[in-house]
Amino acid sequence: MAMANDAPAKIDVKAAEAGPLRKYAPLLGVAIIVFYCLAPFYWMVVSALRRPTDQFENSIIPTTWSLTNFTDVFKPGTGFGRALLNSLLVAGTVTILTLIIGMVAAYTLARLEFRFKNVVLAIIITTSMFPGISLVIPLLKLFIDIKWINTYQAMIVPSLSFALPLAVWTLTTFFRQMPRELEQAAMVDGCTPAQAFYKVILPLAAPGVFTTAIITFIAAWNEFLIALSMINKKELQTANVVISQFTGASGRDQPFGSQMAAGVVVTIPLVIAVLIFQRRIVAGLTAGGVK
């Protein structure tokens, strides 16, 4: 937090030295980037706030505001509330498991000297090279054999496998950047290697860990094909699957409005989560400043 407080002052000083152009150029850059990122999202929100019958409009602001799309999303029949909880459960579990398993693996790879380390790294990354759509059919066969159809683990375990390679690789990079002397010092102070990791490395690597958490969570939250194929019970379906089932008032009209409304509903919690996690990233930074 210390950094967060004194940093703006730093910028201002620099900007004052460099004149108005320097001062406003970065702001302009920020504005452009923010516009670029948010304009399509704005369109999504606005589309969601139109009446379903106005969904074709191109006006910047809805001519008639309406929450119908949002109430449609939460109509009792859709099971969307339940689906959100399922998504949260699956993505949350995947994130936690990925972090635990991934951190152990990453720390091992970053610190321990053993043979075939690079082979292990290679194998881990190899698994994210196969086209995802081609994994579904064999996995479905496997899960039918082991009676995993319509279970949470049928969604969690595959997502875990998609999330793990990235988590292991990024975490390994971050752990490696930590100076070795840190643990050595901690161990001199009487810490076990596990304690050294937990008490010294982990807080310092927090930006990387939380970044990995965000990435994993979003990846798991976005997973669609597996959740669709492994689950055919309404009570277990995730939000993405339920969104794909939305229909218009008749078979052929596309329920664009309610799909966008559902998209907004699904995105907002993620943004909030990101904001919370980002605090932790900044907190990790403060700790980093100590060293």
């Binding site: 000297e113 075939f116 690079n118 990354i125 190899t126 990387g208």
Partner: protein, 350 residues
């Protein structure tokens, strides 16, 4: 194939050999123990399906109809026929077109995303008022589920959609030609630049302030600081981010499929070909496409890491470098061939 051999043979080889090594036996065992959860999960959910897809690619099934009009069941071993078919005649042209599209999308999108992502990270890293809002907004595109964002862009790029209204044009985005390619690139870049941004940001956050202070004291310009200090320090994180983006974009499917549609030459990718075959219940050829794509991705990743290995794998490579030769000598030839030839190049290329 060699990749899968390596995968299949590696774990038993490891336990067997750690014992023979000169350095700390405990470390090897510990490493095996600590890595086993990751490897078990990956074997169960990825290696097994990959192997079964490889097997599938050598078979054909359900393609013939008997006299009374029923599909003849059962699968038939056809060796490499499915692969040969991909490269022959019209299918071959289609394959190479998809191969070109896939490569083009990967190069263009990843370059754009890297530039944008780094810019985003720098913006997010800069501290100023309202920065948390800026940070959150940058991440919004990435947080929107792919299912929804593809639809959103489809709507925007409709003939009388927002894109044309905004630009005052009458471009038919989903027709064959540069415009459909452009629409895919715009949507993909928008969605995934934040991913690179986030990882680079995390890299930036681990750089101690003192480094910048020192640079400032030395009178380095902001650009010099970026080039000489920031970039080298975030390089490991950036390279991992780029590597994973490359792996992802090589398998690009949703956006061209939803935005432009199937069977559009301009944007057909290898993943789409694999999907279309599977959709026609031709699982053998579909698996063959998937395998070819897999090999292509593996080669690209191999080259990427080989060229930039030191930076991607950090100090481990340097430390390992001296030991690598010894490792190879002591390994039984078969395993060394399987693993080293297949995959270990990822690390040993420096």
């Amino acid at each position: 194939m060699s990749a899968s051999n390596a995968v299949a043979q590696r774990p038993p080889a490891q336990t067997g050999k750690v014992r023979k090594t000169t350095f700390n036996e405990g470390t090897g065992r510990l490493a095996a123990l600590l890595l086993s959860p990751t490897l078990i999960v990956l074997v169960l959910v990825v290696v097994y399906p990959i192997l079964s897809a490889l097997r599938e690619s050598l078979y054909t099934s359900g393609q013939r109809i008997d006299e009374s009009g029923f599909v003849i069941k059962g699968s038939e071993f056809v060796g490499l026929d499915n692969y040969a078919a991909i490269f022959s005649g019209e299918t071959g042209e289609r394959f190479w077109n998809a191969f070109y599209n896939t490569t083009f999308f990967t190069v263009t999108c990843v370059v754009l995303e890297t530039v944008l992502g780094v810019a985003m990270a720098l913006v997010m890293h800069k501290a100023f008022k309202g920065r948390s809002i800026v940070r959150a907004s940058i991440l919004v595109p990435w947080a929107i589920p792919t299912v929804v964002s593809a639809l959103l862009w489809k709507w925007i790029f409709q003939a009388d959609g927002a894109a044309n209204a905004l630009l005052g044009t009458q471009i038919l985005w989903s027709t064959e030609g540069w415009q459909s390619v452009l629409s895919v690139i715009v949507a993909d870049t928008w969605k995934t630049a934040p991913f690179i941004g986030l990882l680079v940001l995390a890299g930036l956050q681990t750089i101690p302030d003192e480094v910048y202070e020192a640079a400032k004291v030395d009178g380095a310009s902001p650009f010099q600081t970026f080039l000489k200090i920031t970039l080298p320090l975030v390089k490991p994180a950036l390279l991992v981010a780029v590597l994973f983006r490359i792996l992802d974009t090589l398998r690009i499917f949703d956006l061209p499929f939803v935005l432009v549609g199937p069977n559009k030459q301009s944007v057909e990718t290898l993943s789409i070909l694999a999907y279309l075959e599977a959709n026609q219940t031709r699982y053998g050829p579909a698996a063959a496409y998937a395998t070819l794509l897999f090999l292509y991705v593996a080669v690209v990743a191999f080259v990427f890491v080989k060229l930039l290995g030191a930076d991607v794998l950090g100090d481990a490579v340097q430390k390992k470098k001296s030991k690598k030769g010894k490792d190879r000598d002591s390994a039984p030839p078969g395993v060394a061939m399987g693993s080293a030839a297949g995959m270990s190049g990822v690390g040993s290329g420096v």
